[in-house]
């Protein structure tokens, strides 16, 4: 028999830990509506919706947002292709150097971001590549590959090999097998990986500070406001929007991979 009652001390410690994780983020939502614009005063002296309108009319925020979205979209697309190819080859066969390739994919995220950042920056200056959105994308795609790869490889392992053999036996070629057998099975994992990669890229700041030059992505814009606060109310609103924008893909990715065990043919 297993005892399903938890000791009260453990319950309190777990609840306190979760509260510690969530309360600070909730606080952002309150500050977005405060009337105080000079300090971080608590409790807020009053509540207002004005700052939403002020933020809406700020061209620099829109420019930063659109650059961030563009970079995240392109990096995600590159990472999806590279990550899927890598996962397919590593899961599908055993070959010399297989472990090295897994390590190579994980390395950009295992080493501190500042190392990736400064390495890319010094490489750009050595090769005399001028900063553009492509230099940002180059960095982002590199560490986004691992997210797609992790999601894809977990699913590839569950796709039964006999399904692929059946497809070939029935006369399908590689491309047809990919489109009609592999893709439907790994599709949700790819979407989930893509969403996480998007969220990761949309939020990235450490590598970006080295690869952006004078350009401003939304996180860079926020970083400047954090280091030298000028418009606290606008920053508050932007912070709230960022929380909401990253929340949705994460929830979607969770729901897509939640039932990942029910892959066709997984029982074989």
């Amino acid at each position: 028999m297993r005892s399903d009652t938890s000791p009260p001390g453990l319950r309190i410690a777990a609840a306190a830990g979760l509260a510690f994780l969530h309360l600070p983020i909730l606080l952002i939502f309150v500050y977005a509506f405060t009337t105080e614009d000079k300090s971080y005063q608590w409790p807020p002296p009053g509540l207002t919706l004005d700052w939403l309108a002020v933020t809406w009319n700020r061209p620099d925020v829109w420019a930063a947002l659109s650059l961030s979205l563009e970079v995240a979209a392109v990096s995600t697309a590159i990472a999806l292709v590279l990550g899927t190819l890598c996962a397919a080859s590593v899961s599908g066969s055993r070959f010399f150097g297989r472990e090295t390739i897994s390590l190579l994919v994980i390395l950009p995220i295992a080493l501190p971001g500042i190392i990736t950042g400064i390495a890319l920056r010094s490489a750009f200056s050595l090769a005399e590549i001028p900063f553009s959105q492509w230099t940002i994308i180059l960095g982002h795609a590199t560490f986004c590959v691992v997210v797609v790869y992790n999601n894809a490889i977990a699913r590839f392992r569950r796709v039964s090999g006999s399904l692929l053999e059946a497809s070939y036996d029935l006369g399908a070629d590689g491309l047809q097998t990919f489109r009609h057998v592999i893709l439907p099975n790994i599709g949700t994992a790819l979407v989930a990986g893509g969403m996480l990669a998007f969220a990761l890229s949309f939020d990235e700041v450490i590598v970006t500070t080295f690869t952006a030059g004078q350009q401003q992505t939304l996180p860079i814009w926020m970083l400047e406001e954090l280091v030298r606060p000028r418009q606290r109310p606008v920053t508050n609103v932007v912070a709230m929007v960022v929380v909401l924008v990253t929340l949705l893909p994460i929830l979607a990715a969770y729901y897509l991979t939640r039932d990942g065990d029910q892959v066709a043919g997984s029982g074989k």
């Binding site: 777990a14 952002i28 292709v81 080493l111 590689g174």
Partner: protein, 323 residues
């Protein structure tokens, strides 16, 4: 058709399957017969990308750590020398390294203590809806914006912020003032003290400790705990002699993240904390305005070496099975 025949003349499928027409069919046949070629084609793009973009830049950076800077002209001397590594041993630089590694170790320890109850509860007692709630409860803070999290703590730790207000309401303001008056951990306000830096590091990296810890705790068989209790162990003894040793790989895996992330971060100490530098800030300063890429490169070697040693130790504890 004839072209395919020459390529796959000895292929076993010749006798069974008719050949496909068109370039697409021929390509499909070719790849089916030679899985090695298919593998090569699939691996080429990701490996080229990672090797050229990532490893290439990394090696170029490491190479530059063996260059040196001419102190008078500020120009980089591209001849092999270990002089730049010698500069790391100057007291000021050594101080930065010791401070960063100490902070990383403290954050890792604290993260393990705070994460354990959450991971243990989620792994052993949470069922069904609660399990999903706990999972999301860790995943959401993990994936929400890093800068927003740091910003939230700037709001909390500010002198006029919610924490000071709360302590005043509880008549505990003297406690905060007393703590801030202490030499190393204190400062003029929490957001300008080493304590503040520590709390924010702990907050931001905590989910990275919870997830692997929970994964390893899920694998502890419940009947082991019952057997331990049946044999007369107190809950404390069961924890110390059964649960903790089995959770050790998860702890080691989580500590890789918390340790590595703290070592390399330069944003948090820049926004919340004192003016004393961490490794990341030193790297940033040296490569930026100072233009001393060799010293910046040498500084980045420190976290790489520390993490290398750490990973080597963690692997011996079986941390990679819990990732």
């Amino acid at each position: 058709m004839s072209a395919v025949g020459t390529i796959g003349a000895a292929g076993p499928s010749d006798a069974i399957l008719p050949k496909r027409g068109g370039w697409r069919g021929r390509l499909a046949d070719l790849l089916w017969r030679r899985p090695g070629l298919l593998l090569l084609l699939m691996l080429m793009p990701p490996v080229l990308w990672l090797a050229v973009v990532y490893l290439g830049s990394l090696l170029a950076l490491l190479l530059q750590s063996f260059f040196s800077i001419d102190e008078f002209s500020g120009l980089i001397d591209r001849s092999f020398t270990l002089k730049t590594y010698g500069e790391l041993l100057r007291p000021a630089n050594l101080d930065i390294i010791v401070r960063t590694v100490t902070m990383a170790a403290l954050v890792t320890l604290a993260a393990a203590v705070v994460a354990f109850p959450i991971a243990y509860f989620a792994a052993r007692y949470a069922r069904g809806k609660w399990k999903a709630l706990f999972y999301l409860g860790v995943m959401l803070p993990l994936w929400s914006s890093y800068l927003v999290k740091v910003y939230a703590w700037k709001l909390i730790l500010a002198k006029e912020g919610i924490l000071t207000w709360l302590l005043q309401k509880l008549h505990l303001a003297w406690l905060l003032d007393g703590w801030l008056a202490l030499p190393v951990v204190g400062g003029s306000s929490l957001s300008l003290s080493a304590t503040g830096t520590f709390v924010v590091f702990l907050y931001v990296w905590l989910p990275f400790m919870i997830l692997p810890l929970q994964a390893s705790l899920e694998r502890v068989p419940a009947n082991l705990l019952e057997a331990s209790a049946d044999l007369g162990a107190t809950p404390q003894q069961t924890f110390r002699n059964v649960v903790f040793p089995l959770a050790l790989p998860g702890l080691a895996a989580g500590s890789i993240f918390t340790f590595s992330l703290t070592l390399g971060d330069y944003i948090i100490p820049q926004i919340i904390g004192t003016s004393r530098l961490f490794i990341g800030q030193a790297v940033y300063a040296h490569q930026g305005t100072a233009g001393n890429i060799p010293l910046a490169a040498a500084f980045t070697v420190v976290p790489i070496v520390v993490m290398g040693l750490y990973l080597w130790g963690a692997r011996r504890m079986g941390a990679f099975d819990a990732l």
